[in-house]
């Protein structure tokens, strides 16, 4: 497997980032180099190896009501708010 050509603008868009032309040029070159280094992994035989799974722990704690952040605290950093709700640009016309 050779390092793929990565369409930086498309991937950035998936990540909700808009890059400047300078960033696009710079990151394209850098990421191609980094992905080239990652090609070493394709040579490791992993046929029968299971992927790493989280350590065995009780996955769930007991569902017991407990105090949590007050509405005031939870909204204390909201850039815009009204009536105990966060204001965002409309998503439906």
């Amino acid at each position: 497997m050779s390092a793929p050509q990565i369409n930086i603008s498309d991937v950035a868009s998936l990540a909700r980032l808009t890059l400047t032309p300078e960033e696009t040029a710079k990151f394209s070159a850098q990421l191609t180099q980094i992905l080239g280094h990652m090609e070493t992994l394709s040579q490791i035989a992993t046929g029968a190896v299971p992927e790493v799974t989280p350590p065995a722990q009780p996955a769930l704690r007991q569902d017991i009501p407990a105090p949590s952040l007050s509405i005031e605290a939870a909204l204390s950093n909201a850039p815009a708010q009204a009536n105990d709700l966060i204001l965002v640009p409309r998503i439906l016309e």
Partner: protein
């Protein structure tokens, strides 16, 4: 002598004997800070007034009563900023305490300030901070390491007694090595990460940076334990570490992994590490040659998994609930794009894009899934090695601190600086870095001791014996 030069253990004894008061410690620390912080820029925020108020009320009966501690700027502490050294968290004030912060408060410690870091802990030099770079106390033209570079520079520069850091790929140990202090990355699951701003959740651990191994053990004893708010924390009951000291080296099997002694590595570093191994042998340890054959793949595995996890974790910074919000957005998608593009720095963008790519359709199997499988092989390497030895002894960093600006345009070269620390995160093991020598130009060299999972007691006892037999930890950077 200024109290800023003392260890926590010594200050606790002096506080308990009423020889000194907590305000005396703060006074001396702030005198040091006033003299050195302008050069070092280790802090992003200082609690000048609230620390003095807390000092008057300190409960000395508690394990860290009256002891000021600094926090890396990615740990939430109620009412304080938590910038992660990013423009995107400008103006944010934490609405709650991280569990680690809450445990420090319960143990009586005083919050001294918040330390600089690479933005969102992404970097190995603290040059990726949006709040300005931090300098190495031993040579201000050089990096302090990263990402917990502010914590390491503060402790080594005698402007903090101890600081918390976080370590995802070496971010506590590498700056500790480069600044000449003690940095402990505990086993994955040892300390709760609740309230730590997440970078790569399968790798992140909180840990202490201190002057001595004893202080490291004191802090670990306070911080370790299960937390229902982070269910990756282990269920074992709380432990006190390093209650027995000295004499731990006799009969210890110390493994030297051949993959950590590379041809072409810095000769002064190699010589210091070989001398340290020799010290262990002369004091009754058996040196064992071991192999961790998948080590050469670790950087690739790490930068796939860590960036993939980061791309998901950092999706929360969208301008909606907290932090920076772009103005005049046309619609909600425009709000996300503009907020994130304006708020994140270059390295964070680079890693989010890389992480998004390795998870994207058509590439996830070749990159993300393959990296998870190779991670399993890296873990097996550690498990096998620990059937042959009790500890692994390696360099922490392949070289001492490099000059500021040397690698900022070459991210791959910067990533390669993590070669000796990232495997430990991938394996989930605990490891410590402590000073083991100095170069001819007076730069610190760090020794790494890696243990089996939950082997901190063995790590700390061996590290303490080595430290106390040498004077490296007592040397002071030029003032």
């Amino acid at each position: 002598m200024s109290l800023a030069y003392e260890t926590i253990a010594t200050l606790r004894r002096r506080l308990l004997s009423k020889e000194i008061h907590p305000r005396d410690i703060l006074k001396d620390l702030f005198t040091q800070i006033d003299a050195r912080e302008k050069t070092l820029h280790a802090y992003t925020y200082l609690h000048r007034e609230s620390a003095l108020v807390a000092a008057e009320k300190a409960d000395l009966s508690l394990p860290l009563g009256g002891i000021p501690i600094a926090l890396k700027d990615n740990l939430n502490a109620l009412g304080d900023p938590c910038t992660c050294a990013s423009k995107i968290l400008e103006g944010y004030k934490a609405p709650y305490d991280a569990t680690a912060v809450s445990l420090l408060r319960q143990a009586g410690s005083i919050l001294l300030g918040r330390t600089n870091m690479d933005e969102f802990a992404m970097g190995s030099s603290t040059e990726n901070s949006a709040l300005g770079l931090t300098r190495n106390p031993w040579d201000p033209t050089r990096i302090p390491g990263g990402s917990s570079g502010g914590s390491a520079a503060a402790v080594a520069g005698r402007i903090a007694l101890a600081a918390l850091g976080s370590d995802t790929g070496g971010s506590i140990r590498q700056p500790a090595a480069l600044c000449g202090c003690v940095g402990l990355k505990p086993t994955y699951g040892r300390i709760s990460r609740y309230g730590l701003v997440a970078f790569a959740s399968s790798l992140d651990q909180i840990g202490p940076l201190t002057r001595t191994v004893e202080d490291s053990a004191l802090l670990l004893s306070v911080l370790a334990g299960h937390d229902p708010r982070d269910n990756t924390t282990d269920l074992r009951p709380p432990e006190k570490f390093l209650t027995q000291k000295n004499g731990s080296v006799q009969g210890l099997r110390v493994g030297l992994p051949k993959e950590y002694f590379l041809p072409g590595m810095d000769s002064e570093t190699e010589s210091a590490i070989r001398s340290a191994a020799d010290w262990f042998r002369k004091n009754g340890a058996t040196l064992v040659d071991v192999s961790l054959p998948h080590t050469p793949t670790a950087i690739a595995v790490y930068y796939i998994l860590a960036t993939a996890e980061a791309s998901a974790n950092l999706a929360r910074f969208d301008g909606v609930r907290y932090g920076r919000r772009a103005t005049d957005a046309r619609d909600v998608l425009d709000l996300y794009h503009r907020t994130r593009s304006e708020g994140f720095g270059a390295e964070v963008k680079r890693r989010i894009i890389l992480g998004t790519f390795v998870l994207s359709q058509g590439y996830a199997d070749a990159y993300y899934c393959q990296a998870q499988k190779v991670r399993a092989l890296l873990r097996q390497d550690f498990e096998k090695a620990f059937t042959q030895c009790d500890l692994l002894l390696t360099p922490t960093s392949p070289e001492p601190a490099f000059p500021l600006g040397e690698r900022t345009q070459d991210p791959l070269k910067m990533y390669l600086a993590d070669v000796f620390t990232i495997s430990t995160n991938l394996g989930g093991n605990g490891a410590i870095s402590l000073p083991c020598g100095f170069t001819k130009s007076n730069l610190p060299i760090g020794l790494q001791l890696i243990g089996p999972r939950f082997g901190e007691e063995t790590i700390l006892r061996a590290a303490h014996d080595f430290e106390q037999a040498h004077d490296f930890f007592q040397r002071l950077p030029p003032s």
